[in-house]
């Protein structure tokens, strides 16, 4: 009696569960037979990490979109690896731009047995996470972490498709020194690995150009009140300010500087080189100078730009072309090695010579991109406009660069592939 009751209950529960299961996934079922028909497929997981929440979630999403696009294109191309059809899936994780969360998420990806990682976004999260990937022997390509320390750790698995702060810092600093000729510069940072790193490089370059630099001022990555620091800067009569930090703090800094009547030129690294600066600082944003490692998104490959816009219905913001290339590099290396085993495809990755959306990519011994370009922007009528490209220490006017790059094609986005063709 008891038993039969129990059995009945179980049966009922089982029916209930089956019902649920059936209801929930009609879609995969429809697809299933299609997958089963062709030769056996293998699932290759590629991880992506960036802040999907918090102050720079928009940039994290942008990075993720880049990687996602690459993976979907690879799936559409029906790549064969080891005789099997490769089915790439993106395991997207959120590190909240927090180093602690970054390492947790990194471990999670290692446990999920991903074949490689694109990310993270911030230097502060990528550096500690890279140790975990290194231990697991998993290749990681960042499209936006620019702190030199990342590739100076001697990890063989770490690569980046973007330039380094010690290239970006000198670029913006020398541009500032050459064009604005300041006598005294205030350098401020947000006390993060990224902010401090780029500020240090800027300070070094300015000092080498015999420009006086005030003792470093620091806020945090959450500071909104910069008035005390800016008042001090005003008191010292600095005629230029450099801030190493993100746009969420850089915007208020710029706005408050203008409120205080500070006439200095404001310059920023890539973290605050976004169109959001206008929203955050209002009219005060006009005339700022800032640098981005690499080329502006609008100078990326036109095919990429069109595909991105079509897929996500927005323009890429900042580093999407670089994470797109990062994911493609992983896939390309797997293809060449004919294996998704990190041990096998890592040597291929290191040897990469790949034409991506951001130009020709190859890596040096450390995993840094060879000959990375830097772009200097200014804010004009609420929009960032590129004004100069710096490549191997040489400054070229942006208009001239585009002209040189694309003698025939007029529109900016078409420039990059044309330039590559010219180089080869």
């Amino acid at each position: 009696m008891k038993n039969s009751k129990l059995a009945l209950t179980l049966l009922a529960a089982a029916i209930g569960l089956m019902g649920c299961g059936e209801e929930k996934k009609p879609a995969p079922k429809a697809e299933a037979p299609k997958e089963a028909a062709p030769p056996p497929s293998i699932e290759i997981k590629i991880g992506h990490v960036g802040p999907l929440t918090g102050g720079i979630a928009h940039l994290g999403k942008d990075n993720e979109n880049g990687a996602r696009l690459a993976i979907e294109e690879a799936n559409a191309a029906k790549i064969k690896i080891d005789g099997k059809e490769a089915k790439f899936t993106l395991v997207a994780e959120d590190d909240q731009a927090d180093p602690k969360v970054g390492t947790t998420v990194a471990q999670k990806l290692v446990d999920a047995k991903v074949a490689g990682i694109v990310g993270h976004l911030n230097s502060g999260t990528t550096i500690p996470a890279s140790a975990i990937y290194n231990q697991a022997g998993l290749p990681v390509i960042t499209g936006s972490a620019t702190n030199p320390k990342l590739t100076e750790q001697g990890f063989k698995v770490v690569f980046r498709t973007v330039g380094r702060d010690d290239q970006q810092g000198p670029a913006i600093a020398s541009y500032l020194a050459d064009t604005k000729k300041p006598k005294l510069v205030a350098v401020i940072d947000d006390a993060t690995a990224y902010g401090e790193g780029i500020a240090n490089e800027v300070e070094k370059t300015l000092k080498a150009a015999n420009i006086k630099v005030l003792p470093r001022e620091k806020g945090t990555d959450k500071t909104t009140d910069w008035k005390a620091i800016l008042t001090k800067v005003k008191g010292k009569k600095a005629d230029a300010v450099f801030y190493g930090g993100m746009d969420a703090t850089g915007g208020p800094l710029l706005k408050q500087g203008r409120e205080l009547g500070l006439k200095a030129v404001f310059s920023f690294g890539d973290g605050a080189c976004t169109d959001d600066m206008t929203k955050l600082a209002g009219a005060a944003a006009d005339g700022l100078l800032c640098s981005q490692a690499g080329l502006p998104p609008q100078a990326a490959d036109k095919k990429f730009l069109d595909a991105y816009k079509k897929k996500f219905n927005v323009e890429p913001i900042l580093y999407a072309p670089f994470t797109y290339d990062g994911a493609n590099l992983l896939i390309e290396a797997m293809k060449k090695a004919n294996s998704a085993d990190p041990v096998k495809y890592l040597p291929e990755l290191a040897k990469s010579n790949y034409k991506g959306a951001t130009g020709q990519i190859s890596f040096d011994d450390k995993g840094d991109r060879k000959d990375a370009e830097m772009t200097i922007f200014t804010m004009k009528d609420g929009k960032l406009a590129p004004i100069a490209i710096i490549k191997s220490g040489k400054t070229t006017d942006y208009a001239e660069f585009m002209k040189m790059a694309a003698p025939v094609a007029a529109p900016a986005p078409a420039a990059e592939p044309a330039k590559e063709a010219a180089k080869q």
């Binding site: 006086k212 909104t224 915007g251 955050l280 009219a283």
Partner: protein, 325 residues
């Protein structure tokens, strides 16, 4: 000199905001000896609601002042409702519980509010539309903006209004009676629950105004903005003597000035090269070797908090009552 005046002005603006927030802490503490750690989140919600309204109206072509006023007009009732709900649901059931229980509840409420705000307004930094034209005035060589003058003026007006309410109205008398002895106040016909609810509502309303001020002044709002602001305002309330309304005002203004002056001058004062103590390599050619930089700005509030708790637990204006604070 003008730089010094400028730092004082910076500090007073910051301090005025601290003072208004501190009032919310101190009023509640004064009446039921509860440190309402969720008050910072009420301020944040005020800023968020104002953001939503101002953002929606920014393009409507109304005069900027009207837009901000409508924003505040929406934020105040919402925050009052939050304040009332908080009291009714989280604190009233614990009125007779040991004091630690409502304190922990307060922290819980704070976490809940913060994450609710995260769900509603996302985790992104929200940029207020820059609708208020920048007007600056020069005062003793220092620059002061129209927004700063408005903030300072509003704070003084609100403090005066609160003082009037507490010392000149029936509700104020009931509040003071409840603060002194709730049991006796009840015997005298004071509806203690209503008075306590009113205290929360008024505190939350003040918090809403502070939130709107912070949002429009700095131009950014984020769901986490309440925690540090709340802690600093709490430090200000303790500095002035928690439970003491004029104390909160003095404490807030003082703390703001201490922070601004600290951040402005600590770098120069701890520059070892000034005293001939720094390493020669970095001091050469007018170089600097700074021991403590402006990154210590946030530390001042808490150093002050510790000093007050160690040397004068009842605060600057607080009376010496053994078991409070």
């Amino acid at each position: 000199m003008d730089i010094f005046v400028q730092q004082i002005i910076n500090g007073l603006t910051l301090g005025a905001v601290y003072a208004i927030v501190a009032l919310g802490y101190t009023m509640v503490y004064g009446i039921i000896q509860l440190i309402n750690f969720a008050h910072g989140e009420v301020v944040m919600i005020g800023a968020m609601v104002a953001f939503t309204v101002i953002n929606a109206l920014a393009a409507a072509g109304l005069p900027p002042l009207a837009v901000v006023l409508i924003g505040a007009g929406c934020a105040i009732p919402v925050c009052m409702l939050v304040g009332y709900a908080m009291e009714r649901m989280a604190y009233r059931p614990l009125r007779s519980a040991p004091r630690l229980a409502p304190l922990i509840t307060a922290i819980g409420v704070s976490i809940i509010l913060q994450h609710l705000a995260m769900l509603v307004w996302s985790r992104n930094v929200l940029a207020f539309p820059q609708i208020i034209p920048l007007t600056t005035y020069t005062f003793l060589g220092a620059t002061i903006t129209g927004v700063q003058i408005t903030i300072l003026g509003l704070c003084l007006a609100m403090m005066a209004g609160l003082a009037l309410l507490v010392y000149r109205t029936r509700l104020g008398t009931a509040m003071r009676a409840t603060a002194q002895n709730p049991q006796v106040a009840r015997l005298m016909g004071v509806d203690v629950n209503r008075v306590i609810a009113a205290t929360f509502i008024i505190g939350a309303g003040l918090g809403a105004v502070a939130g709107v001020m912070v949002g429009t002044y700095y131009g950014v709002a984020q769901y986490t903005m309440g925690s540090v602001l709340g802690l600093k305002a709490f430090a200000a309330a303790v500095l002035g003597g928690i439970g003491n309304i004029p104390g909160a005002m003095v404490g807030g203004l003082l703390l703001g000035v201490v922070e601004a002056l600290g951040a402005g001058y600590i770098g120069d004062l701890t520059d070892l090269c000034r005293y001939g103590l720094g390493p020669a390599a970095s001091c050469a050619d007018g170089g600097h070797f700074v021991l403590f930089g402006s990154n210590y700005q946030d530390v001042f509030a808490f150093v002050v908090l510790i000093l007050v708790l160690v040397f004068r637990p009842s605060g600057l204006l607080g009376e010496r009552v053994g078991d409070r604070a």
